[in-house]
């Protein structure tokens, strides 16, 4: 019997339709992430550097942040808003940066060392704090597209992106509103309660470290969707991650290696969800934010296509229950 499950944060219902696993053509053809291996623009990168990690001044870079060559948004002009009849419009003010995660030509973050991944998280935190100084920015998101089906171009060099926007994106608003509603009712953080329940139940846990837990969500949008949550409450990624970068990098490497081995190197996205910038504001909108919101990472392997039903309804269909996914991933053996 299929089940309908409700996401506890934003209230999205999803269908866990196990019988559809037999349906032909559910999974994409085994995704071989083929890359165009001509001169790589990231190996010997000459773009204008925004930030880098080096062993000492003048040493070769180990992680490097540059402006995107094809920016979606830019902060060269001035921020402006205008109306157009019943529509609201703002200009393309924002920031779009590329994080080159390693000087080596390695495609998948799963194959970087834990220390290298640690430096990537440290870099994100530095950029969050720096972008927070611009009071026109309301939200920053760090994310990765790996593989063609995840929206990446065919580039075999591990990298991720950071975008700062002058408005709060829709999904962030939904998550914030859901978490706040729960907090208003129970005076506790929804994510803290969820982590507690998941650690007790164990069925959806994939792996756990001192500071973090990796689990499949109760009501996933995608098959093999994974959430990584910090055990210690903090609404901000850049503040919460301090001192825990190494631990987080270790868990991220485990998760990415498990999906690489278990799912034959699939395309995937990951996204860091953190609280919006408040710029010193403490009004009603943000009053309980520090207590009610909890930063986290979503890892989304891209194995299925989204079709008309999902696009039109916002209802998602999963053909494997998240409990089976977690069990499968727990059992995937990784070296080291």
């Amino acid at each position: 019997m299929p089940e309908l499950r409700k996401d506890p944060v934003i209230g999205r219902w999803v269908i866990i339709a196990t019988e559809r696993a037999r349906r032909p053509g559910v999974f994409l053809d085994s995704q071989k992430n083929t890359f165009e291996e001509a001169a790589c623009a990231f190996c010997d990168n000459k773009d204008k550097e925004i930030f880098s990690i080096r062993a000492y001044s003048g040493a070769p870079w180990r992680v490097r942040v540059v402006e995107s060559g094809t920016p979606l948004l830019s902060s060269h002009g001035k921020f402006s808003r205008h109306g157009h009849g019943l529509y609201d419009v703002v200009n393309d003010y924002g920031a779009h940066e590329v994080v080159i995660e390693t000087p080596e030509h390695i495609a998948n973050m799963a194959d970087l060392t834990q220390e290298q991944i640690r430096m990537v998280f440290e870099t994100y935190a530095v950029r969050y704090n720096e972008l927070n100084k611009n009071t026109n920015f309301q939200y920053v998101i760090a994310y990765k597209n790996y593989g063609w089906a995840a929206g990446s171009r065919r580039i075999g060099h591990s990298r991720s992106q950071i975008i700062a926007t002058s408005v709060n994106p829709f999904s962030a608003k939904e998550k914030l509103a859901g978490a706040k509603k729960y907090y208003n009712y129970r005076e506790r953080c929804l994510y803290c309660d969820m982590i507690q329940q998941e650690l007790d139940a164990k069925v959806r846990i994939i792996a756990e470290t001192e500071h973090f837990v990796a689990m499949t969500p109760f009501a996933p949008r995608f098959v093999f969707e994974i959430w990584i949550l910090p055990k210690k409450h903090n609404c901000d990624f850049a503040k919460g991650v301090v001192g825990q970068e190494h631990d987080l990098a270790g868990l991220m490497k485990i998760v990415l290696t498990k999906i690489k081995i278990g799912l034959d190197d699939p395309a995937y996205n990951y996204v860091i969800h953190s609280a919006p910038f408040r710029h010193g504001e403490t009004g009603a909108k943000w009053k309980t934010l520090a207590e009610d919101y909890h930063w986290h990472i979503e890892v989304l392997p891209r194995l299925t296509r989204v079709a008309g039903f999902e696009r039109g309804s916002g209802f998602y269909i999963s053909s494997i229950p998240p409990e089976s996914v977690a069990e499968f991933l727990r059992e995937v053996k990784i070296n080291g």
Binding site: M1, P2, E3, L4, R5, K6, P8, G11, R12, W13, I15, I16, A17, E19, R20, V26, L72, H84, G85, L86, Y87, D88, V89, N91, D92, Y139, I141, Y143, K144, N145, W148, A149, G151, Q161, I163, T165, S166, V167, P169, F170, S171, A172, K173, L190, M194, Q197, A201, F218, N269, V271, L300, R305, V306, A307, G308, F309, G312, S313, G314, F315
Partner: protein, 334 residues
């Protein structure tokens, strides 16, 4: 210059490329629809026994159900996402909510012809498909367990179609889906504030602006929305607020059939036969605020892959300005 635009109904922000840098149809990857299936399949004429027994059909002659002679038929899905048997049973698991998966999942086989698809239909053929959408909506709405009837179509592999033979789908749900609920709420808020339907106002503004209009007839208008989620996204609205989808009569049905196949044909010509989805956004069963909602069809061709930024933020990036898309679609005629 790119702009960040807010959807006036649900409040979603979208990054829309400026006109001068907008991508034209040729700059999107082409998808070849390579046939992987036999030219005769389970949905073809004279294969009726291979599907579950039909629940409705348009069969003009004196043929019996589940035999030849039909022009369009509706059958339950062999691999349903939801099951029709049983009572709805809501329960909690700690802080989570769930129910058993009660619902209906039906397939509308739009034509006996294995090679045809919606863009190629005559108006009369398209009318039959819409008639079946209406019949099934009315019938499923009588089941007290169902709150929403979702009608949609997947055409082509990258739009999620696993069967080539032209078909669309109907799913009856025990709750109102999220996107529709958000639209209903946004539209009601606008109505409370202004006493008018936001979609009527939008249609009026689009008529005055003209740049995003694709085509129209006496009863319906199609335009590219000011705040799309996908490049070349196109919407179809009845011009009159009072036209109801389920009870729509012969005249409106024919007008809708005409404009729907027209827009799909324009996309086929202009975008080299892209994969696409369309879906109907209608009112929930027994909806109490019909003054604030205006049913419509959204058509989304699949030209790009949604990346991490979109999944993570709900912030879509559209590389073709809707006014540019509409210009291409206006010009695409045989």
């Amino acid at each position: 210059m790119a702009e960040v635009r807010r959807d006036p109904i649900i409040g979603r922000w979208v990054i829309v490329e400026g006109r001068e840098k907008s991508l034209g149809p040729a700059q999107y990857e082409k998808e070849l629809h390579v046939s992987k299936q036999a030219a005769i399949c389970q949905f073809c004429n004279d294969r009726e026994s291979q599907t579950p027994p039909e629940v409705d059909a348009i069969r003009p002659g004196a043929y019996a159900p589940n035999t030849v002679g039909w022009q369009a038929r509706v059958v339950p899905n062999k691999f349903p996402a939801l099951r029709i048997e049983g009572e709805l049973n809501r329960r909690g698991v700690g802080l989570y909510d769930m129910t058993n998966g009660i619902g209906a999942h039906e397939i509308v086989i739009e034509t006996p012809d294995h090679l045809k698809n919606f863009a190629d239909y005559s108006v009369a053929e398209a009318v039959q498909v819409i008639k079946l959408f209406q019949n099934r909506s009315a019938s499923l709405a009588r089941d007290k367990r169902f709150k929403y009837i979702m009608i949609f179509k997947n055409y082509g592999q990258s739009a999620g179609a696993s069967v080539e033979h032209a078909h669309s789908q109907i799913i009856a749900l025990p709750m109102v889906p999220k996107y529709v609920a958000e639209e209903l709420e946004g539209a009601q808020k606008y109505y409370d504030f202004r006493g008018r339907c936001v979609f009527c106002d939008m249609i009026e503004q689009e008529y005055q602006d003209k740049r995003r209009i694709i085509t129209s007839n006496d009863g319906f208008v199609s335009f590219c929305p000011f705040v799309p989620r996908y490049p070349f996204e196109s919407w179809i609205f009845p011009k009159e607020h009072t036209v109801d989808f389920v009870t729509m009569g012969d005249k409106e049905r024919e007008q809708l059939a005409g404009i729907l196949k027209d827009v799909l044909l324009r996309m086929k010509i202009c975008l080299s036969d892209p994969s696409y989805n369309f879906y109907l956004h209608v009112m929930p069963v027994g909806y109490e605020n019909p003054q604030s909602y205006h049913w419509h069809i959204e058509i989304v061709p699949q030209l790009t892959r949604v990346a991490g930024f979109e999944w993570g933020t709900g912030f879509y990036v559209v590389r073709t300005a809707p006014s540019v898309a509409a210009e291409y679609l206006r010009g695409a005629t045989q």
